[in-house]
Symmetry: C2
Subunit: 189 residues, 2 copies
């Protein structure tokens, strides 16, 4: 039995340099508020607002460091608030994803694409992947115990030498399964 | 393979006569806006607001007809909005459930209990239950297909001669599984 800690990802945004310049000001540097489990990733003090046809979400945390592309990750519940039907995608798979308007203290951007519902996934070190006999892009199932217990199918593996073991779900998924952040769940091969 | 249509339940409230009087006025009659699948149950035109320590939810639909007890059903996401940690319970199992303030056009009520996250369940006619070999209170698992596919465990059977076949999940659960209302899912015994 292979166990993995699980955590909920709330709505957040990743930004490339050019978009940091527009939203926060030229040469603005993002502030590391809190390191995340995945090495090098951190929640920033900076937040933006998302604006959709039917609503607005304020206080959306920027996750650093800067990336080569900007990307907004929401839940389906967030999509209903905004009035936008975003596709379920892996991080970085943005071609044909949903449009979104983002505003920061220094300016706004109308993204023609970049809004996704993140597909649930498990980060793991290459050595864990080898032990499990899986590789990046493989799907596994994951059993969550408890009174709201369920089995997530189609959980995508993201393995690498700079990864740490953690499963990520969005708030809808976390609440549907009644999870507490960092509780252990079980990979079913 | 036994298939069942699934539908999402949004936040809603059931009311007893005495509480209709307080919230909407003495002898006020609830208005049937739309019949639901379960025979005799209907969404009303009337709505109330829920008020919690950290937030408020407006436009909460009353589901009729009147019941012997008042009960508010929310998702965990709604609970975060309100700032209330409500227990996962079957409908009617309210002892020790969470408190909630409810306001209507004619008055407000501070319920000392009655707020729950409804446990996912399947309504079915007694004849379906007999065919499946299950009875009220039994748990089954239900497989949802698709790109967000998962298996809900701990799905409670509610069988009776006045029931119709439908599985109910809350919005968190529906969104986690990427369901469309009334799509078919599969009971696993």
């Amino acid at each position: 039995m292979f166990k993995v800690p699980i955590a909920r990802s709330d709505v957040h945004i990743h930004l490339k340099r050019k978009d940091v310049n527009i939203l926060f000001g030229k040469d603005y540097q993002l502030t590391n508020l809190k390191n995340l489990t995945i090495p090098g990733q951190f929640a920033c003090s900076e937040t933006v607002s998302l604006i959709g046809p039917s609503g607005r979400i304020n206080g959306v945390v920027v996750v650093g460091p800067e990336r080569p592309y900007s990307q907004v990750e929401i839940s389906i519940t967030n999509g209903l608030t905004l009035g936008i039907d975003a596709p379920v995608r892996l991080s970085g798979d943005l071609k044909g994803s949903a449009p979104i308007k983002v505003t920061g203290p220094a300016g706004s951007i109308d993204f023609s694409e970049g809004l996704i519902v993140a597909a649930r996934h498990i980060h793991m070190h290459s050595s864990d992947a080898a032990e499990l006999g899986v590789k990046t892009g493989d799907s596994v199932s994951v059993r969550v115990p408890g009174p709201r217990g369920l089995v997530f199918n189609q959980v995508i593996i993201k393995a690498g030498d700079h990864e740490a073991l953690e499963m990520h779900v969005d708030f809808d998924e976390g609440h549907a399964a009644g999870i507490e952040d960092f509780q252990e769940v079980e990979i079913i091969l």
